[in-house]
C-alpha cells in the first residue's frame, strides 16, 4: 500500500484562489502565521477553522452550558486514529478531507457518487446545540453546524423498500493509523431505522463552534443523533446505503451483548460492565443523572412505542 509522505501543504496550494477558499489546512496555517507574526488572534477566526455561514436555531439549543472547545476537540473517540482519547487530535491532522465524495446507493432512486460540495450545496446550514452522551458515561454539550439528514434523504428519493440507512466511515489506513490494527472490523459502519433517520433532530454535521469540523471530530461530514449513545454518530462518512434489512453495525458486531443496534440513551439499561444511571459532563466534577433518550424523550420516545427497550437496547 502506498504511504503518502507528501505534506498537506505545498506552495502550489497557496496560488489558486479557488483552492484557497476550500483548504482549511491552509487557512489554519494562515491563522497560525498571523498568530505568530501579529502576536494576536485575528478577531474573525475564532478557533482557527474556516467560518461557516449558518442560521442559529435557538429552538433546538439545549440550555446547558457549552463544553469547552478545547475539550470537544481533544477528547475524542475516533478509533481510526487510535483508541486513546488524545490520539485523534494528535493524528487526524494529516487526513485529506478535500477532495471528498459520498456514495449513495442501495434502495434509492438517485444513487451515485456525489462530490461533497454538490451534496451540501442545496442545504442551508443551521446551528443546533445538542447534548452528546457517550456510552462510556461522559457527556458534552456541542454547538453543531449542519442540516437535517431528512433533507438529504428526501433529495435522493429512497424506494419503498428502504427500511434502514447505513453509513460507512472512510477506510484509509495510510492516513488513519488506527486502522492498521484490527481493533474493530474496519470500515466503521453505523445505521438507523428509516424513521430515526428522517427524524428532524437527526443531523448531518459539517461544523462545530461556527467553523468547519476539525478532522478529529469527523470531518468533513458526520452524523449527530443526540438521543443515542455517541458511537451511533458516525464520523467522516463516505457512503450512505439504503436497505430493506437492518445493517450490521460495527460495535454491535464487536460485542453484541454490550452494544445494540438502537443504542438509545437509557439510564435503566446497564451496559453489562457499568451502570448507565449517571454521567460526568466534561468540565464538571459531580456526576449528573442520565436522562432517558438523553433528555430528548419528548421528541423521540414515540418512535419506540410498544418496543421492549431492554431487549432492543
Amino acid at each position: 500500500m502506498l504511504i503518502r509522505r507528501k505534506p498537506d501543504l505545498t506552495e502550489a496550494d497557496v496560488t489558486d484562489p479557488a483552492w484557497y477558499a476550500r483548504r482549511r489546512e491552509f487557512l489554519q496555517g494562515t491563522a497560525a502565521l498571523l498568530l505568530t507574526a501579529g502576536g494576536l488572534r485575528p478577531a474573525r477566526a475564532g478557533h482557527g477553522g474556516r467560518r461557516l455561514d449558518f442560521r442559529p436555531r435557538p429552538d433546538l439549543a439545549v440550555p446547558d452550558a457549552l463544553t469547552d472547545y478545547t475539550d470537544v476537540t481533544t477528547y475524542n473517540n475516533f478509533y481510526e486514529f487510535g483508541t486513546d482519547k488524545a490520539s485523534p487530535a494528535e493524528l487526524a491532522g494529516r487526513l485529506t478531507t478535500d477532495p471528498w465524495s459520498v456514495t449513495v446507493d442501495g434502495e434509492v432512486a438517485r444513487p451515485g457518487t456525489y462530490a461533497l460540495e454538490d451534496l451540501l450545496k442545496p442545504h442551508p446550514l443551521e446551528e443546533r446545540i445538542y447534548r452528546l452522551r457517550c456510552v462510556e458515561r461522559w457527556s458534552m454539550v456541542i454547538p453543531w453546524i449542519g442540516f437535517p439528514l431528512a433533507d438529504l434523504i428526501t433529495r435522493v428519493e429512497p424506494t419503498s423498500r428502504a427500511k434502514y440507512v447505513a453509513f460507512t466511515t472512510l477506510y484509509r489506513p495510510e492516513e488513519m493509523p488506527g486502522q492498521r490494527r484490527h481493533v474493530l472490523d474496519w470500515p466503521y459502519v453505523e445505521g438507523l431505522r428509516m424513521d430515526e433517520a428522517m427524524h428532524p433532530l437527526t443531523l448531518l454535521a459539517v461544523g462545530l463552534y461556527g467553523e468547519v469540523l476539525p478532522n478529529q471530530n469527523g470531518a468533513p461530514l458526520r452524523l449527530v443523533v443526540p438521543w443515542k449513545y455517541g458511537f451511533k454518530s458516525i464520523k467522516s462518512i463516505v457512503r450512505i446505503h439504503f436497505s430493506e434489512r437492518q445493517p450490521m453495525t460495527t460495535w454491535h458486531k464487536a460485542a453484541p451483548h454490550e452494544y445494540g443496534f438502537y443504542a438509545n440513551v437509557n439510564p435503566e439499561v446497564d451496559h453489562p460492565r457499568w451502570s448507565q444511571k449517571r454521567e460526568r459532563r466534561i468540565g464538571e466534577f459531580r456526576k449528573r443523572k442520565t436522562l432517558p433518550f438523553n433528555g430528548y424523550a419528548e421528541q423521540v420516545a414515540h418512535l419506540y412505542a410498544g418496543m421492549d427497550l431492554r431487549r432492543f437496547f
Binding site: 490494527r181 481493533v183 474493530l184 460492565r273 459531580r286
Partner: protein, 207 residues
C-alpha cells in the same frame, strides 16, 4: 553490594517509585490530565498498580538470571508501592466515580466481574502489606511464605481486571498478561527443574 550502597539504591528506588504519584498530583492541579481528569486519575493509578506488581515479581527472576542479591532486597518496597498505587486507584474510584454511594459500590463489586477481580486483588495486597513487617514475618513463621505467594493470585486478578474492562483494544492488557505469564512461568520452570520439591518430583517421575 555493601550496606551504604544498598541504602543509597533503596533511597533512589523509593523516590523513583513515588515520582508517578507526584506527577499525577501535579498534573491534576496543572490541568494536564485532559478533558476528564478524574477518570484519567483512576486509569493511571490502576496502570501503575499493575506495573509495580509486575516489577515486584521481576525481582526474583532477576536474581536468578544475574546472581545479584540486591533485586530481592528491593522486593518488599516495590510490593508496598503496588499496594500504595492500588489504594490510590481504589480511592479515586470510590470518590470520583461512585461519590461514596455505598449501596451502589457494593452492587458494582458484586455485579461487575472486572470490579470483583480488582477488589480481590486489592484485598490480597492489603493482607500482604499488613504482614510485610519483620515482626509479622516472625510471628507467622512458616506460614508467611505460602501467604505471600498469594501475590501470584493478585497479579492474575489484576491482569484479568484490566482485560475485562477495556472496550475493544486488547493490546495493552495482552502485553501485561504476557509479562505476567513470563514472570510466573519462570517460577514454575524453576520448580520443575529443581529436584526435591513436589512439582519437580512429579515432573521427573513422568519423564
Amino acid at each position: 553490594m555493601d550496606a551504604e550502597r544498598m541504602a543509597r539504591l533503596r533511597l533512589l528506588v523509593f523516590v523513583a517509585a513515588l515520582a508517578p504519584a507526584l506527577w499525577l498530583a501535579w498534573a491534576l492541579f496543572a490541568d494536564r490530565l485532559g478533558a476528564n481528569p478524574f477518570e484519567a486519575l483512576t486509569r493511571r493509578s490502576g496502570e501503575w498498580t499493575l506495573r509495580f506488581l509486575l516489577l515486584t515479581l521481576l525481582m526474583t527472576p532477576l536474581r536468578d538470571w544475574t546472581g545479584w542479591r540486591w533485586p530481592v532486597r528491593l522486593r518488599r518496597m516495590l510490593g508496598l508501592y503496588a499496594f500504595f498505587y492500588g489504594t490510590l486507584h481504589l480511592f479515586t474510584w470510590l470518590w470520583f466515580d461512585q461519590f461514596f454511594d455505598w449501596p451502589a459500590i457494593v452492587e458494582e463489586i458484586v455485579k461487575r466481574p472486572f470490579i470483583t477481580a480488582g477488589m480481590g486483588a486489592l484485598l490480597i495486597l492489603l493482607a500482604l502489606a499488613a504482614t510485610s513487617t519483620r515482626g509479622m514475618m516472625r510471628r507467622l513463621g512458616r506460614r508467611w511464605k505460602p501467604l505471600h505467594r498469594m501475590v501470584y493470585v493478585a497479579v492474575l486478578l489484576a491482569v484479568l481486571h484490566h482485560f475485562w474492562l477495556v472496550k475493544a483494544d486488547l493490546l495493552w492488557p495482552t502485553i501485561y498478561a504476557v509479562i505476567a505469564g513470563a514472570l510466573l512461568g519462570h517460577r514454575l520452570w524453576r520448580r520443575v527443574r529443581r529436584p526435591g520439591r513436589l512439582p519437580a518430583a512429579t515432573a521427573l517421575s513422568r519423564s
